[in-house]
């Protein structure tokens, strides 16, 4: 039999590589800007499109989906072809995938600063872009499976299993978390509300970390590390065991993002137990990676790619040790909502994702350009400045997290809060925020140096767009194949492999999500909780548009330190009309669940105009455009109808008269402000958001008054 001659497509790998570097620099630069805004709010240039609330999601989306996303596709398109001994299934699909993905990113860059957001973290993009993501993901899937099917290597190496698990799980996560009902072309409401919405979102959010930031990178590690070290992986058996255990366990751990909230206790407990167990398969991967270098540590000294790999794997080990620790309720009570979590995710993002990406770029670019790396010195400089950057980023954030977490919980011997003003704790940690931005700047500097180094490497070489290769075609299986071992058989049946992975991730999904989504007793209702008035609903959408949820939570945990500070702890029944939920995940400012009635309307007016008038030293940006911008009431009817479809009990035909109620309530607030000599027309956005803020958490109080 003659070997087949064929060509690997390196051009698509190169394109994804360029996109990785460009979006990496942009995403990290945006990150640096938002980091500076946290101590210099005027860095938003007094512009609504660049305020923290709108730009922070741009940073997270850019680094996760643009930087890491393109890096994943670069790594997969390079390794999959070689592991399957076949060119990608279709050059056309590769191109559609590449340009489609860039289109999604550009859409995010445009829509997020405009305030078009679902407010679901890491899934902020509105419904038309969600559909585009689905299409591009399917294109990627067809291209990947097409390549696997026309392969010339019977058995599928472990890296490809990770790619398959990534593909199938991200598809499931994206679809379930994007079930929303469109109100207009760029506005939708989540189908689930309150606790249910929160559970779906954090099942998604946690597993986006698992199956976008972890499994594809483990797959890439299993291909590129043996290539870089020129030796096989330490234990193939361990890779099988940790693959199945990892994808089984990860899917259950989402509720650790919702500890001490109103999520049913059993779901929280499930999240904790599986999070603790997660350390085993995670460390299985790290150990397998590090031990691959046994006997080759001398290479680590000279080879910059291996240096990046070792620090990347170590960062993965640290982050996956810390994750389970943070899931323990006692630790979570202090760490959650603070900068500790920011430190935790950045050890993973900068160390694991960033450094593995850099290692692969340094290894891969000279190979596809058939040349040597332009400057090893520059790469070494990048390694050291990057490592320093991570340290200067993470250490101040840990410090800030512990400091603020403990300050917020501290009582005086007399039993009152030692730091009753939230702002006091914020101001205490500002120096840490300054240091953090220095760390980020160091890291970004390294990436810019890398970009220059890779550019010079590319210029001195020539791209081998189509790399020649030879392999024997797959012979037909002989009848003895029937006696093969189970896993060996699975390794050559990609579709069965996909189904097996799907079943494994669906087990946890069903046990965890179904009871909360289907059994109504899990969400006890409260009679006094009523739907939002049309004005409050519009105000809530402005709250969503401005990304207030990025700094303010809306869930009071049942701790004395929180009930003293904010008021009564949250109940599940309070959120039944919250499409989407707005509990948040970080308290850069205080919780707002019990904000209603705490201050007068004029306080809110002045505070939104310039927060420093009411809270000297505040780091919240001015929202003065809310005073001049007119509220768009043309959308009220459509919004009410959408809410009715979701089961919010507005009376039939209310959509037609909703704006009358809206006007009446707005005029009331405007008249109240006039008493304090604030002249503002009732049709301005600020009136709506004040109405919403004044409603927050008041239903329970109303119920109590009625009962008395």
């Amino acid at each position: 039999m003659q070997p087949d001659k064929f060509y690997y497509d390196n051009k698509i790998v190169r394109n994804f590589g360029i996109a990785t570097v460009i979006w990496g620099i942009i995403g990290m630069l945006v990150g640096l800007i938002v980091a500076i805004q946290l101590y210099k709010p005027e860095m938003n240039m007094h512009n609504q499109y660049t305020t923290f609330g709108r730009v922070r999601p741009l940073h997270t989306n850019a680094v996760i989906f643009a930087f890491v996303g393109n890096a994943i596709f670069m790594g997969i398109y390079y390794s999959l072809q070689r592991l399957m001994k076949a060119r990608m299934f279709s050059d056309v699909l590769s191109k559609i995938h590449f340009w489609g993905w860039q289109l999604i990113i550009v859409s995010a860059v445009i829509t997020l600063p405009l305030g078009l957001t679902t407010s679901h973290e890491y899934a902020e993009l509105e419904w038309p872009i969600d559909i585009l993501i689905t299409i591009v993901w399917v294109v990627f899937g067809i291209n990947m499976f097409g390549t696997i099917i026309k392969r010339r290597e019977r058995h599928i190496y472990v890296a490809v299993w990770f790619y398959i698990a990534t593909f199938v799980t991200i598809a499931v996560l994206h679809i379930v978390n994007s079930v929303e009902i469109p109100v207009s072309f760029f506005k939708s409401y989540m189908v689930f509300a309150g606790v249910q919405d929160a559970l779906v979102q954090w099942w998604y959010g946690h597993n986006a970390v698992a199956f976008f930031l972890t499994t594809p990178y483990l797959g890439m590690m299993y291909y590129f590390l043996p290539k870089m070290a020129n030796r096989p992986i330490y234990s193939y058996k361990l890779s099988i065991l940790h693959f199945w255990a990892l994808i089984f366990i990860y899917i259950w751990a989402g509720p650790h993002h919702l500890l001490y909230t109103t999520l049913p206790g059993w779901a929280q407990s499930l999240g904790v137990v599986f999070s603790v167990m997660l350390i085993a398969p995670s460390w299985g991967g790290m150990i397998n990676g590090l031990l691959t270098l046994r006997g080759a540590w001398d290479k680590v000294r000279d080879d910059v790619t291996l240096k990046f790999m070792v620090v990347g794997l170590t960062a993965y080990g640290m982050a996956t040790f810390e994750g389970p620790m943070l899931s323990l309720k006692q630790v979570n009570a202090i760490g959650h909502f603070t900068d500790w979590i920011i430190a935790h995710v950045h050890v993973g993002a900068l160390g694991w994702n960033g450094f593995l990406t850099f290692a692969i770029l340094y290894w891969l670019v000279p190979r596809i350009y058939k040349t040597e790396l332009y400057s090893k010195k520059m790469a070494s400089f990048h390694f050291w400045i990057g490592t320093l950057g991570i340290l200067f980023y993470a250490i101040p954030m840990y410090w800030a997290g512990f400091t603020q977490g403990l300050m917020l919980k501290e009582f005086t011997p007399e039993g009152i809060l030692k730091y009753p003003s939230f702002l006091e704790t914020t101001m205490r940690i500002l120096p840490m925020h300054v240091m953090r931005s220095v760390g980020g700047a160091l890291y970004l500097t390294g990436v810019i140096v890398m970009a220059y180094n890779l550019y010079k490497t590319a210029v001195q070489g020539k791209l081998v767009a189509n790399e020649a290769a030879e392999a024997m075609p797959l012979p037909k299986l002989n009848p003895e194949a029937g006696t093969e071992r189970w896993h060996r058989r699975l390794e050559r049946k990609p579709i069965w492999f996909l189904i097996a992975s799907l079943i494994v991730i669906l087990i946890g999904t069903f046990v965890e999500l179904m009871p909360t989504l289907t059994i109504s007793s899990n969400i006890p209702t409260i009679a006094s909780v009523k739907p939002y008035t049309p004005l409050e609903l519009q105000g809530r959408d402005i709250y969503i548009r401005e990304g207030c949820v990025n700094c303010h939570s809306q869930t009071v945990r049942p701790f004395r330190s929180e009930t003293e500070r904010y008021g009564e702890y949250s109940k599940a029944g309070e959120f039944v009309y919250d499409h989407p939920f707005l509990w948040g995940s970080k308290r850069t400012g205080p919780d707002l669940q019990r904000e209603g009635g705490k201050y007068g309307n004029s306080w809110h007016y002045n505070h939104l105009m310039d927060p420093r008038l009411m809270s000297p030293g505040s780091i919240m940006p001015n929202y003065d455009w809310l005073i001049t911008q007119k509220l768009d009431t043309t959308s009220t009817a459509a919004k009410i109808r959408a809410m009715q479809k979701l089961g919010v009990p507005y009376p039939a035909g209310y959509d037609k008269i909703a704006n009358q109620d809206l006007d009446k309530q707005a005029k009331g607030i405007s008249a109240d402000l006039a008493k304090d000599h604030i002249k503002v027309k009732s049709n301005k956005e600020i009136v709506a958001i004040i109405a919403y803020l004044q409603r927050l958490g008041t239903d329970i109080k109303a119920g109590k008054t009625a009962n008395n």
């Binding site: 070997p3 690997y8 390794s79 070689r82 592991l83 001994k85 010339r152 290597e153 058995h155 190496y157 472990v158 890296a159 299993y222 291909y223 043996p226 290539k227 020129n230 030796r231 096989p232 992986i233 193939y236 058996k237 099988i240 065991l241 199945w244 255990a245 089984f248 366990i249 259950w252 049913p264 206790g265 059993w266 779901a267 929280q268 407990s269 499930l270 137990v273 599986f274 167990m277 309720k329 790399e467 020649a468 290769a469 030879e470 392999a471 024997m472 071992r485 189970w486 896993h487 060996r488 390794e491 494994v504 087990i507 946890g508 046990v511 009871p515």
Partner: protein, 63 residues
């Protein structure tokens, strides 16, 4: 430590025990399958990434 933890679990323990049981069964099945893998096959699988089939590495091709 473990006892303290189990005593503090809130809500329906059936979910928890059921979930852990499923995982245990799953884990044991995968482990048993691993023990049955032949060494020859394991060596073959771990060697796959080192064979590129490009012109430089053509001598690594299988016969």
């Amino acid at each position: 430590m473990f006892r303290q933890f189990t005593e503090h679990i809130q809500g329906n323990q059936v979910y928890l025990l059921f979930s852990l049981f499923i995982f245990l069964v799953f884990f044991i099945v995968v482990t048993l399958l691993l023990f049955r893998l032949r060494k020859q096959h394991v060596d073959y699988m771990s060697d796959i990434p080192l064979q590129d089939c490009t012109e430089e590495n053509i001598n690594l091709l299988e016969p």
